[in-house]
């Protein structure tokens, strides 16, 4: 992750919001000055060493630092972990994701884990033990003073008037099983000795080890160089694997798969029965959240959302199940170049991960009606050969926009029940010139998919596997390539091109928002044509010249199109030189990313300004006698101001999270 100034500001603000001023100050300095020791920090911040030690300890506890101690050195080098700091903004999303896929108790555990940073299992268990005991004691008391606990909190006075049905986590065994599930899902991993070394430090130590061990005489020749790289990658993978030690141990027990299946099926209902089967975890282990895997799960959700927008809910549901099965063993969204060197080779030799139709079928809920969401086309309109085509290999690297082409060529003559009814007319118009001559029909034919309920209810009553297959084929046929049909009844997803397509969709929607349909149309023309001369553009775009120029200028300021000046002769006369418009998707995306960071920073700054404005009200609400029963104790106008502020706060954070959606698509997925 590239740390630019907006990112640094944002991270400091986020830490300020969640962990307070002292750590945020230190973090900002670490970001701007880079790796520093304690004495250096004293100099930079003009704080006392004691303050700094406390602040650093807090940052370290919340996994926001890397540090490195040279053997024999007096001071450690600290480095900021900007990625984790940025991930703080995703806390809400991660918790919501865990809440919906693992249930409320798991969310509670994860929240407490996030709250306390890296935690020893025994400490966590003790804390829960205490809470459970307290709750039991309260339950033992009769109902007349069951408010006692709530009242001590001072916060949930009247919002939960004694309605609490006991704690979410019922016993330590329950806690244990929850942790086991989260570890198996890789959402929690183990902290080990090298966790807090920055990746460069790890790389250096591994490099040194490899050189000492295998190549004491130095490296000569290309073959040896490749070998060095492979060995280093191997070493790095070993370091990375250490954090999964707990998972491996759990999997050795053999019951893991079964346990998981039971949990996935029945959720909470099988509580006590399962808990006995979970092995006790080593209480000395220290655990923390694994953001990388959380991101993989968030990506799945985003893709399902994407599919919902294009196909509708049933297909998206099928897709969600497929993704869940597929990404079980995918530890991170993007491969690390240094670490995964050589891993690619192994991957291509053995088969890539794939899921069979039967597996998906087993994991579908029976309550879902698969017949929904599939249109009906006449038999002669569907080419089963093209539809069932099997692609053994992932598509070659292509430019973003040209992905549609190959698909178009292959199925040029046959009509399929593709989703051209979903695409706007505009869309197909624009694609028409990109495809070859044979594809000229594409714009006009667009197989008419009939969603005619009354037509033939008997006919569409296919059996479940066939319906499932149709959903999958439809996903495979789309221009975005949600799924690849990689073998008979085997399915896989090529994430890289798919995410590129998603990125492009995001960019398009941003362009449409800022510059309107006209702007988007111009951008698409440019993408299809490559570089276009300023004078030729009005003819191609069929627009009047002044309008066009204004639009192009507007888009250039926004960074969506770029212009290149090519002089015709040495004198570089302005009137004689060519001006070529083009659009560079990567550049636009990085610019968009930068703007997004700034937007998020602004949102939080606005919030700060609001706080400043409503300072007197907020100070009142912080008083321990007012807190939790603002409505009773505050005067009406103050109360209204307070609630207005809360509403604004929610909206601002929601905006931040929406922008983060965009950022994660552009940067992390």
């Amino acid at each position: 992750m590239l740390v630019t100034k907006p990112v640094a500001d944002l991270c400091a603000l986020l830490i300020d919001e969640l962990h307070g001023e002292l750590p945020s100050r230190i973090f900002a300095i670490l970001l701007s000055k880079g790796r520093s020791t304690l004495p250096q920090l004293v100099q930079y911040t003009s704080m006392t060493p004691r303050q700094l030690r406390h602040g650093l300890a807090v940052l370290q506890q919340h996994n926001l630092l890397f540090y490195h101690v040279d053997p024999g050195a007096e001071f450690a080098f600290y480095e900021a972990n900007a990625e984790h700091a940025y991930n703080l903004v995703r806390t809400g999303k991660i918790l919501e994701m865990i809440d919906s896929s693992f249930g409320a108790p798991a969310k509670d555990v994860m929240q407490n884990l996030l709250l306390s940073g890296q935690t020893r299992i025994s400490d966590l268990v003790a804390a829960y033990q205490e809470k459970i005991e307290q709750a039991n004691k309260e339950a033992a008391h009769v109902e007349d003073d069951d408010d006692f606990g709530a009242e001590k909190n001072g916060v949930n006075g009247d919002s939960h008037p004694g309605k609490k049905a006991g704690p979410l986590v019922k016993s330590t065994a329950h806690l244990n099983s929850i942790i086991c599930r989260l570890v198996e899902a890789e959402l929690i991993d183990v902290v080990h000795a090298k966790t807090f070394e920055s990746s460069q430090d790890i790389l250096k130590t591994v490099e040194k080890e490899v050189m000492d061990k295998y190549f004491p005489a130095g490296v000569k020749g290309n073959k040896a160089k490749v070998e060095v790289q492979e060995r280093i990658a191997e070493g790095l993978r070993k370091v990375r694997g250490e954090s999964k030690s707990l998972k491996r141990k759990l999997e050795q027990n053999g019951t893991a798969a079964k346990r998981r299946k039971l949990f996935a099926g029945a959720g909470m209902s099988n509580g006590s029965h399962d808990e006995d089967m979970d092995p006790a975890l080593d209480p000395r282990q220290v655990i923390r959240i694994n953001y990388e895997k959380c991101l993989v799960d968030l990506r799945n959700r985003r893709l399902v959302q994407f599919a919902t927008d294009i196909f509708g809910e049933t297909s998206a549901y099928v897709y969600g199940v497929l993704l869940k099965l597929l990404t079980k063993d995918i530890p991170r969204c993007r491969a690390d170049a240094a670490m995964d060197f050589g891993e690619d080779k192994e991957e291509s030799e053995k088969d890539t991960v794939s899921v069979t139709t039967d597996q998906i079928l087993d994991n579908l809920k029976t309550s879902v009606d698969l017949s929904l969401g599939i249109g009906k086309a006449e038999r002669r309109q569907v080419s089963s050969v093209a539809a069932e085509k099997i692609e053994l290999f992932p598509p070659k690297k292509k430019l973003l926009i040209e992905e549609a082409e190959v698909e178009g060529e292959a199925s040029a003559d046959e009509d399929e029940d593709n989703e051209s009814s979903d695409e706007s007319e505009y869309d197909s118009d624009y694609k028409a010139p990109t495809a070859n001559g044979t594809n000229g029909v594409n714009g006009t034919n667009g197989a008419k998919v009939k969603f005619d309920e009354s037509a033939a209810p008997k006919e569409r009553r296919l059996d479940r596997p066939t319906q499932l297959r149709q959903h999958l084929l439809m996903l495979a046929e789309s221009t975005q390539r949600f799924v690849r049909h990689c073998g008979p009844n085997e399915w896989t997803v090529d994430f890289v091109p798919l995410m590129n397509a998603l990125r492009e969709v995001e960019l398009d929607s941003v362009i449409e928002r800022t510059c309107g349909r006209q702007g988007l149309r111009l951008v698409r023309i440019l993408r299809a044509k490559g570089k276009l001369d300023e004078k030729a553009l009005p003819n191609v775009a069929l627009m009047r010249k002044p309008e066009l120029q204004q639009k192009m200028l507007e888009m250039q300021t926004a960074g969506f199109v770029h212009v290149q000046e090519v002089p015709r002769d040495l004198k570089a006369d302005v009137k004689k030189s060519f001006f070529l418009w083009f659009c560079d998707v990567d550049r636009s995306l990085s610019r968009l990313l930068d703007t997004s960071y700034t937007t998020m920073t602004h949102c939080i700054q606005v919030l700060e300004a609001l706080r400043q404005k409503e300072r007197d009200v907020l100070e009142t609400t912080k008083r321990s006698d007012v807190r939790g029963r603002e409505k009773d104790t505050m005067r009406k106008e103050y109360y209204e101001r307070y609630s207005r502020f809360l509403e604004c706060e929610r909206k601002l954070f929601a905006q931040v999270m929406r922008v983060d959606d965009l950022v994660s698509v552009l940067r992390d997925f």
Binding site: H19, L22, Y44, V191, K575, Y642
Partner: protein
């Protein structure tokens, strides 16, 4: 443009070459594009602008935001939280606003932005100890590291003393050591109020009142509402005292106790008994620094918030 060319021709700045004049005359926009319409009017200062508004939050987003806010609330409640930013909260609002917005050059100036609490920075209006200070949360300037256990092997050695809470500033003879085992406390905050809840709460009450107070258990609510409304009126008329001190008030506190709280009851009583004269004058200084309240606040001071 053409005017300047003419002046130049008369010899102001030396003889311009023919080529330059030609360029100057031909490259003006209206010469290049004949159908351009020149508009000499000054542009509008505040042209109408359609402000884009964000779509309403979906259910999922609502949930995400609530989870985030709850998490934040719990974070700020934890022993590791230090106070919110100081550099916008310095006592004199005017200077702080400028301090927050003006540019800082160099690290020294940047560091000076952060507030320091010394005797000189104390706000004389709120610094006089009053009863209500009892309820104020004192912001923590340093995290309370001694309050909870840490996995020390994952911290660099120089921080270990700080983790034990033994990192006192130099020379202090008596080290405060905590006795007994440290425990990781789980946050007891379980809900974060949303704006809707706040509004709904008020609306719900009003609704109940409309339906008639005969519903069982609604009595206390009605009474509370009645008092609330009279307090509001009192705030305007200066008659609020009667409702806040005296038996009526106690009764309300008791009646409300079922769903609210009891443990604080005695505290509340004391609080309200003293609410007659002296205390509220302080409360006025505490919170409303607005001018509008200044006039009425002097004599009655009947309400607190």
């Amino acid at each position: 443009m053409s005017g300047r060319g003419g002046r130049g021709g008369r010899g102001g700045r030396g003889p311009p070459t023919n080529g330059r004049r030609a360029v100057a005359q031909n490259s003006v926009p209206w010469a290049m594009d004949s159908d351009i319409v020149l508009d000499g009017k000054p542009s509008e200062l505040f042209p109408p602008y359609a402000i884009p508004s964000a779509p309403v939050l979906t259910k999922k987003e609502e949930k995400q935001v609530s989870f985030f806010l709850l998490f934040r609330e719990q974070c700020q409640d934890s022993p590791l939280y230090t106070q919110a930013r100081t550099w916008t909260q310095s006592p004199s609002a005017a200077t702080s606003a400028s301090a927050a917005t003006t540019r800082a050059y160099g690290q020294d100036q940047l560091n000076k932005r952060y507030g320091q609490t010394t005797k000189a920075t104390v706000d004389p209006f709120t610094a006089v100890p009053t009863y209500s200070h009892k309820f104020k949360k004192v912001p923590r300037t340093l995290p309370d590291l001694a309050a909870r256990p840490f996995a020390k092997e994952f911290f660099p050695p120089e921080l270990h003393a700080a983790l034990d809470g033994e990192d006192e500033s130099g020379g202090q003879a008596a080290k405060r050591r905590r006795v007994g085992p440290k425990t990781l406390g789980l946050s007891s905050i379980t809900s974060y109020k949303t704006a809707e809840e706040l509004f709904l709460g008020a609306d719900g009450q009003a609704h109940q009142l409309q339906q008639g107070g005969q519903v069982g258990g609604g009595g206390s609510l009605d009474k509370a509402l009645q008092i609330m409304s009279t307090v509001e009126k009192g705030g305007e008329d200066g008659e609020g005292e009667a409702f806040l001190s005296g038996e009526d008030d106690d009764d309300w506190v008791k009646g409300n106790g079922e769903e609210d709280e009891d443990g604080n009851g005695d505290e509340d009583d004391v609080y309200e008994d003293e609410s007659g004269d002296d205390y509220n004058a302080e409360a006025y200084f505490d919170g409303n620094q607005d001018d509008e309240d200044y006039d009425e606040g002097g004599d009655d001071g009947g309400d607190y918030f």
